[in-house]
């Protein structure tokens, strides 16, 4: 706790505080003001009007059904995966984990698109093997259960990560004591590990539910074709329709989503309340049950699941991107890269989307470092209380469903900023603002972890050597947290490239992002081009993940989700 009365120090504190309040506090505050002034209008308010419409409640029920069922699916899938990987001696764990992470890293609309390409009468992959259903038969994924299935797969990694963190802390002694008392492995799992790991399952389920609730890509691609609206897609539809008093109406819908999410989080806290198992044993050695003759079957089962949920859809996507035109069968004779040529070199919109998305992601990742590095420094290294309280605010825009944040940003910038007379609405600026708010928590995490494990004596030694605050920052602290800062840039970049929900509501002509491009291409029937863009994005994401993986040894534990 270095005591300093330096102006540089205070200046930095002011900048950090201001930035957090501006990006994370202001939009939510604006939404709250909108709702409360609207409600005060009484019966004439668009709040009452929106809530009295049938469409609102149908969408709310659809949202609840898809979110709950997909959460259940995610818990089953992610839970099984987590128990198998964290507790047993199966081989190739790191590859399995890396592959399971992909559904989380791949943009949801790409996932949806690849599944659509896999099934249905016009599937290029199925047609190649003459397995496709006859023309005119319905696409099985355009259904409620299709949405639930894909949302479940998308959220499974969240449950997996949350549960694995819990299982990792299970002291080996608990299992060993049970074994000594005469319990077989199955018994130990049912009576000890399962009950002890419920907090991990509940926490993971909570995150998966909120994430499903705010998901836009999957219900948009699978639901809109058969007029099945969830709350996020209903908001999208309202905004594109541009009816009267649309802002008040979407604010109400966003408020509704926020309420459901808040109720879910409260329920989660209530459930966790009585399950505070303080596990403080020495957990140096990970648990590992010998599967014996069951090892190979379990491994085969896990890889089969992976092939079904990941490899097949992605192959279908790749196949669709390689045909010259929609409906053509894929064969060595027809294989063509024309779609890639088209999206990379000929189409203005795609080139623009690539430029927009990459420049947004880069500038967002770099700008966030300017805020999160000092923030992490004050909260973790100097352990200042005001700063720790500020962290709650930083988490808010990331925890809220993306649509809620987008609506808040629209409300904030619908009119030009007073005094400056600067209008962000309809520019890339509004998307950047929303990204800065949403991904601040993502950017903060690695830097925070790095500062937390940094010996305070490192800075004190530099101070006693005569280095001023800015010098210590530049020459000692920044170089030491630079690996984590690098990881933070890549993680934000990944999230920003993936992102659809926020930009779907904030984009405008000539300011489209990759996420919205895929959505628009698919919507306009250009599914071959959409597939090609998707394949390019997946390549980019896997490249970034490999880059991050390479740096793993320089980073604090827990920064890279798929590494131990």
């Amino acid at each position: 706790m270095l005591y300093l009365k330096l102006r540089q120090d205070y200046l930095l504190k002011g900048v950090v505080l201001g930035a957090v309040l501006l990006f994370c506090g202001l939009p939510v505050f604006r939404l709250a003001v909108e709702i409360s002034t609207d409600i005060s209008l009484g019966m004439q308010s668009s709040f009452i009007d929106t809530l009295s419409r049938n469409a609102t409640w149908t969408a709310a029920i659809h949202s609840l059904i898809t979110a709950s069922c997909s959460t259940l699916l995610a818990i089953i899938l992610g839970g099984a995966w987590s128990y198998a990987i964290a507790l047993t001696d199966i081989r190739g764990k790191s590859l399995l984990v890396f592959c399971l992470m992909l559904p989380m890293m791949i943009p949801p609309q790409v996932t949806a698109l690849s599944w659509v390409q896999l099934f249905g009468p016009s599937s290029v992959l199925l047609n190649t093997f003459n397995l496709a259903p006859p023309l005119g038969s319905p696409q099985p994924l355009y259904s409620e259960s299709g949405i639930i299935l894909l949302l479940g797969i998308q959220q499974a990694p969240l449950v997996f990560l949350s549960l694995r963190a819990y299982l990792r802390n299970l002291p080996r002694e608990i299992v060993e004591a049970a074994r000594c008392s005469g319990a077989n492995p199955g018994h130990v799992w049912r009576h000890h590990i399962l009950p002890l790991s419920t907090p991990g399952l509940i926490a993971g389920g909570g995150i998966a539910f909120v994430s499903s609730l705010g998901n836009f890509g999957i219900p948009a691609i699978l639901g809109i074709p058969f007029s099945y609206y969830s709350l996020p897609t209903l908001i999208y539809q309202r905004l594109t329709d541009f009816g009267s008093n649309v802002l008040g109406s979407v604010a109400t819908l966003a408020f509704l989503i926020g309420c459901i999410a808040a109720m879910a989080v409260t329920t989660q806290h209530l459930l966790l309340k009585n399950r505070d198992f303080r596990l403080n044993g020495i957990s140096g050695q990970p648990l590992s049950f010998q599967l014996g003759c069951w090892r190979l079957p379990v491994e085969i089962l896990l890889w089969t699941i992976l092939v079904l949920i990941l490899v097949l859809p992605l192959t279908a996507l790749l196949a669709s991107s390689l045909v010259p035109a929609f409906g053509v069968q894929l064969s060595p004779a027809t294989i063509s890269f024309s779609a890639y040529r088209e999206v990379l070199f000929h189409q203005d919109a795609t080139a623009r989307a690539f430029t927009n998305s990459l420049s947004l992601a880069t500038s967002c990742a770099l700008l966030l470092l300017l805020i999160t590095v000092p923030l992490a420094y004050f909260s973790q290294h100097r352990k200042q209380l005001w700063c720790k309280k500020l962290l709650v605010l930083v988490d808010l825009p990331f925890a809220l469903p993306g649509v809620v944040l987008s609506i808040a940003c629209i409300l904030l910038f619908a009119r030009p900023i007073p005094i400056l007379q600067l209008s962000l609405y309809g520019t890339l600026g509004i998307i950047l603002f929303a990204y800065l708010a949403r991904f601040m928590a993502v950017s903060l995490k690695p830097v925070s972890a790095s500062f937390a494990q940094l010996d305070p004596a490192m800075e004190e030694a530099a101070a006693s050597c005569g280095a001023s605050f800015s010098r210590r920052m530049r020459e000692i602290l920044l170089p030491m947290v630079s690996p984590a800062a690098g990881a933070s840039v890549i993680l934000v970049f990944l999230h920003a490239c993936n992102e659809l929900t926020v930009s779907a509501l904030l984009w405008s002509a000539k300011h489209e992002t990759l996420g919205i491009l895929i959505f628009n291409l698919d919507d306009g029937g250009e599914s071959v081009l959409a597939a090609a863009v998707s394949v390019l994005i997946i390549c980019l994401i896997m490249l970034l993940m490999f880059l991050l993986d390479r740096k793993a040894s320089d980073l604090p534990k827990g920064v890279i989700p798929w590494r131990d």
Binding site: Y3, K5, A457, E460, C465, G466
Partner: protein, 356 residues
């Protein structure tokens, strides 16, 4: 070179009082050890002097310059005090030579002069051949020597050492003590050395300041501290031996269970005090008038160390050249004792426990 003075220095963390109005004066070039059990406030004292924390009350002066009060402090980078940390605090992204040269860079010293000073400092700690290595490739003792060289290079006026040997094994400690002595001779800086190991403190320091519960118990030379402890807690903390409660003082002798022994006392000694510090080397087994029973016998290499119980239940310890069995009855004489000037109410048991 000037005098470092702490005046009524206090530090509170919320309700917890870490330092309770301590006073200390270090002469220029003096080597002072701050000794005490963990949590006694010695590291807090050091951090206040370094400028890492601000005092709640009191003042720190270096010569005429006021370094810190409760209202204002000079930041650590402007104090020219070198700190040697328990964790070494070497920067992993800089090489050994860059670590050592850092204080010169903050003082804008470059070129030939820079290289010469770094080389000289590295030579003093015999680390010249490691100058291009990374700190991660060094052993604990080598890292601490690099940290010493980093202090050496900045020609500090005061050097603060925070348990610098705590992370090293016993063998290395003796070698490192040699480097500290050499360092002290070379810099002629005032050194403040925080430790909980009295062996280290005795070996290195000109004076030792014993601390307990945020207070200064006694400040004295190692010899005086051993022979003339100011209170029972210091008597128990420093060296071996016991505090014996005598029955009365008659004819200039202290009486216990019908036998008498001679003693020394200070000028300020309270006439009420009947507490005596008896060291084992002042107890002779054989034909004395004091009757005791052996409770424990420990082999110490050169001799045996005996724990004994007197007839009135008080303990006494002694050295012996022969092994004794527990339960054996012996006679002994007490040749010398130190009359403790004040009997404190300080919880002796906890002091001893935390020290052991």
């Amino acid at each position: 070179m000037a005098r470092l003075t702490l005046t009524n220095l206090s530090k509170r963390y919320g309700k917890h009082i870490a330092l309770d109005s301590i006073n200390l004066e270090a002469a220029p070039g003096e080597f002072i050890a701050l000794l005490g059990p963990s949590g006694c406030g010695k590291t807090t004292t050091l951090r206040l002097i370094a400028g890492f924390e601000q005092p709640s009350a009191g003042e720190i002066h270096y010569g005429d310059r006021c370094l810190a009060t409760a209202e204002e402090t000079i930041p650590p980078e402007q104090r020219n005090m070198a700190v040697v940390f328990q964790s070494y605090a070497l920067w992993p992204h800089l090489s050994v030579a860059e670590n050592v040269g850092y204080p010169l860079r903050t003082r804008y010293i470059k070129g030939k002069h820079y290289r010469e000073k770094v080389q000289e400092a590295l030579a003093t700690v015999e680390m010249t051949e490691f100058s291009q290595r990374s700190p991660a490739d060094l052993s604990g003792g080598q890292r601490q020597r690099v940290a010493l060289a980093r202090c050496l290079v900045m020609t500090p006026s005061v050097v603060l050492l925070d348990e610098p040997l705590a992370n090293l094994d016993r063998h290395l400690r003796a070698t490192m003590e040699k480097y500290f002595s050499r360092f002290h001779k070379k810099t002629k800086a005032t050194m403040l050395y925080v430790t909980h190991d009295q062996g280290e403190a005795m070996a290195l320091a000109d004076r030792i300041a014993v601390m307990g519960n945020g207070r200064m118990e006694q400040t004295a030379s190692p010899e005086q501290l051993y022979r003339e402890p100011a209170n029972t807690s210091v008597a128990k903390f420093i060296g071996e031996g016991v505090c014996l409660q005598a029955e009365e003082i008659r004819q200039g002798m202290a009486w216990i269970s019908g036998s008498a022994f001679t003693f020394r006392q200070g000028r300020d000694c309270s006439t009420e005090s009947l507490q005596f510090c008896i060291r084992p080397e002042n107890v002779t087994l054989g034909d004395g008038h004091v009757h005791a029973e052996i409770a424990r016998c420990q082999f110490r290499g050169e001799r045996y160390f005996l724990d004994m119980v007197l007839e009135d239940g008080q303990g006494l310890c002694a050295y012996s050249n022969l092994r004794h069995t527990p339960g054996e009855r012996v006679r002994c004489s007490i040749d010398d004792g130190w009359r403790i000037p004040t009997a404190t109410t300080f919880d002796q048991q906890s002091m001893k426990a935390s020290y052991m």
